[in-house]
């Protein structure tokens, strides 16, 4: 049975602002869904509607087959982890974790048992008597997760939980969250703007843009077959090179002097894309085009080369990603080949993949 169903969910604010026109999403039991998008795309609003912190303007929200549109957050059987953790500053870690259970009227013994077992799982045994301000960022994050876990909810909701941590801790917590979720098998909805987090955590990704779900699918499906240029640019780092072009009998015509052969029925203006990691450095004879190098970023394991492609009328920026260290000269030409099977072609008008 599907766990959480969003059926034609929409949000309109009282001032008439249409934050989310309509979203359909069916989440299976135990699935890890990541909502990802740039800031202001409505991902947090959507999560807060599922949590019950925002009213739902249209559509149905079902959790375990029951419609919960008008239920209070506490009655929806969900637990949420907030960006700033939202721990009660005057309560100890133990009291923080026990508060939800206490309000439900659980007995003291049951609360103690549940809190202790979750604290053991998260390594918080030593910290139970401390106040939140005596904890480090990572520990607070763990307590916030513990508070969500003790309630044994049907759905976990995460609202950018890692954005306040330093980079190293973020990677560590990311792995931890994934392992915990696998172990508990709880359906999870996770909001982030960080595409690395999104790719590594998700069973399925929902890419949101201006309140619309641009594409829903597994991280690899989105990487390999992005449905729109927006998804193509958003997933993957550095993002995909996208160039405006025209499709005709000869193939893809980037400019008067540069065209790439392709047999396709579609005619008209398109957006042609290729990922930086799929471009190959070749000699001049086999090359599709040349890149004038403007900047080189050496990261040791890989090198990012930023440059422009001369299209006659204008210069289009392009990034190439090469394995290992490289030291090409600035302003020199790099001959590149774009293998056909890594092309992404989108209709410029409908923004759909061709």
């Amino acid at each position: 049975m599907s766990d959480v169903v969003l059926n034609n969910i929409g949000k309109t604010y009282p001032n008439g602002y249409h934050a989310i026109p309509s979203i359909d999403l069916t989440i299976e039991e135990g699935e890890f869904i990541v909502l990802v998008g740039p800031s202001g795309c409505g991902k947090s609003t959507l999560l807060r509607m599922v949590a019950g912190l925002e009213t739902i303007s249209q559509g149905d929200l079902m959790i375990k087959g029951a419609k919960v549109n008008d239920k209070e957050p506490a009655d929806r059987d969900i637990a949420m982890v907030f960006q700033n953790y939202a721990l009660y500053p005057h309560m100890t870690v133990y009291a923080n974790m026990a508060y939800g259970l206490k309000n439900r009227g659980e007995s003291k013994e049951v609360i103690a048992e549940k809190v202790t077992s979750v604290a053991n799982m998260l390594g918080l045994e030593e910290l139970l008597e401390r106040k939140p301000k005596q904890l480090s960022g990572g520990q607070r994050q763990r307590v916030a997760m513990g508070r969500a876990m003790v309630r044994d909810p049907k759905v976990f909701l995460f609202d950018e939980p890692l954005s306040n941590l330093d980079a190293k801790l973020r990677v560590q917590m990311r792995v931890e969250i994934r392992q915990l979720q696998r172990k508990l098998g709880t359906t999870t909805l996770y909001v982030t703007h960080d595409q690395v987090e999104a790719m590594t955590l998700a069973d399925r990704l929902v890419v949101l843009n201006k309140g619309k779900a641009e594409q829903i699918g597994s991280p690899m499906a989105l990487y390999n077959k992005p449905a729109t240029p927006f998804v193509a640019a958003f997933i993957g780092s550095p993002s995909m090179n996208l160039l405006p072009a025209n499709l005709d009998e000869q193939g893809i015509c980037l400019s008067d002097r540069l065209s790439l052969p392709l047999v396709h029925d579609h005619r008209g203006s398109i957006i042609w894309g290729i990922r930086p990691e799929h471009l190959e450095v070749v000699d001049e004879a086999n090359a599709d085009f040349a890149l004038r190098i403007q900047a080189v970023e050496s990261l040791g394991a890989e090198t990012l080369i930023h440059g422009t492609v001369d299209l006659g009328v204008k210069q289009e920026p392009m990034v190439v990603r090469l394995a290992g260290p490289h030291w090409p000269e600035i302003n020199s030409l790099l001959w590149l080949k774009a293998p056909l099977d890594h092309w992404h072609v989108f209709d410029a008008v409908t923004q759909q993949r061709l």
Partner: protein, 282 residues
């Protein structure tokens, strides 16, 4: 500003000491006068060192043997003052916490208007509305009663305003976390809001207690029965003797007694008081 100039240190210390002297001298004089026979103060020379009557003066004042112009002993008036001051303080805190809670966290029609109406009452302290308030209290048959002493002074726009500001700085996520944890309005108020405004409540408690303790005009007006006289009122009574000398030694003992509770409250709650004024602990 970190400077190291000897004369600056001297000047600043000197002016501080001078200030302390100015503030402390009257208290010192009162303390000294309370240990002399009543004639010493009236003789025109103010004694600056302790006399030998301390025990006797304090005892006679405390047990009401000294003629104070009031029929009840000082300890009884002290009790009255306590009941009034505590009643006003607790009442003010209770009412302003509730009204600030309603104004900040609940969406109801004319919410803003309600706040401004409360705020405008800042312009109507007891002194301004004393005649109509007296009328109301008299009609309710509350003259010469504790409720008459306390109730008209309870409404507080200042405290409501301060709590409103304090509540408005509560992080939104915390409120939402409490909602998800199943805390209804009452639970949220007692479990989250009150403990988190602890320091503000303490600070206001100190200010309100002193305000209540020092009330003079209102008690003078509505009490005619000696059983409801407060300590602060009685000092004035003692000065208004028809004939004979004013018993300065007894007046000073009473004055010192009237000073002790506010000082004790300030010292006892100093740490919380300062915390409440400077940081919000969030």
């Amino acid at each position: 500003m970190i400077e190291n100039r000897p004369w600056l240190t001297f000047v600043s210390h000197f002016s501080l000491l001078l200030g302390i002297g100015v503030v402390a001298l009257p208290v010192w004089v009162a303390l000294v006068a309370s240990t002399h026979p009543s004639s010493a103060f009236g003789a025109g020379e103010i004694p600056l060192w302790f006399g030998d009557q301390a025990l006797e003066n304090w005892r006679s004042v405390f047990l009401g043997e000294a003629s104070s112009g009031v029929d009840v002993p000082v300890w009884y008036m002290m009790l009255n003052s306590f009941i009034m001051a505590l009643g006003i303080t607790v009442g003010k805190l209770f009412i302003s916490l509730l009204s600030a809670y309603a104004i900040v966290f609940f969406r109801f029609p004319f919410r803003g208007a309600c706040f401004w109406v409360i705020f405008i009452t800042l312009m109507l302290p007891v002194e301004v509305r004393i005649v109509p308030t007296y009328e109301v209290v008299a009609n309710l048959d509350m003259l010469n009663s504790y409720s008459g002493l306390i109730l008209p002074l309870i409404a507080s726009a200042t405290a409501t305003f301060l709590f409103r500001q304090c509540f408005m700085t509560m992080p939104g996520e915390l409120i939402e976390a409490a909602r998800i944890d199943g805390a209804g309005p009452i639970r949220f108020f007692f479990d989250i809001l009150l403990p988190m405004s602890r320091t503000n409540i303490a600070a206001l408690f100190v200010i309100m207690f002193i305000y209540g303790w020092n009330q003079y005009l209102w008690p003078v007006i509505i009490t005619t029965d000696d059983a409801y006289y407060t300590l602060v009122m009685s000092i004035k009574r003692m000065l208004a003797v028809d004939q004979g000398d004013i018993e300065w030694n007894h007046v000073m003992v009473t004055t010192l007694l009237a000073m002790i509770p506010p000082v004790a409250v300030v010292i006892g709650m100093q740490k919380l008081f300062v915390k409440g004024l400077v940081d919000a602990e969030k």
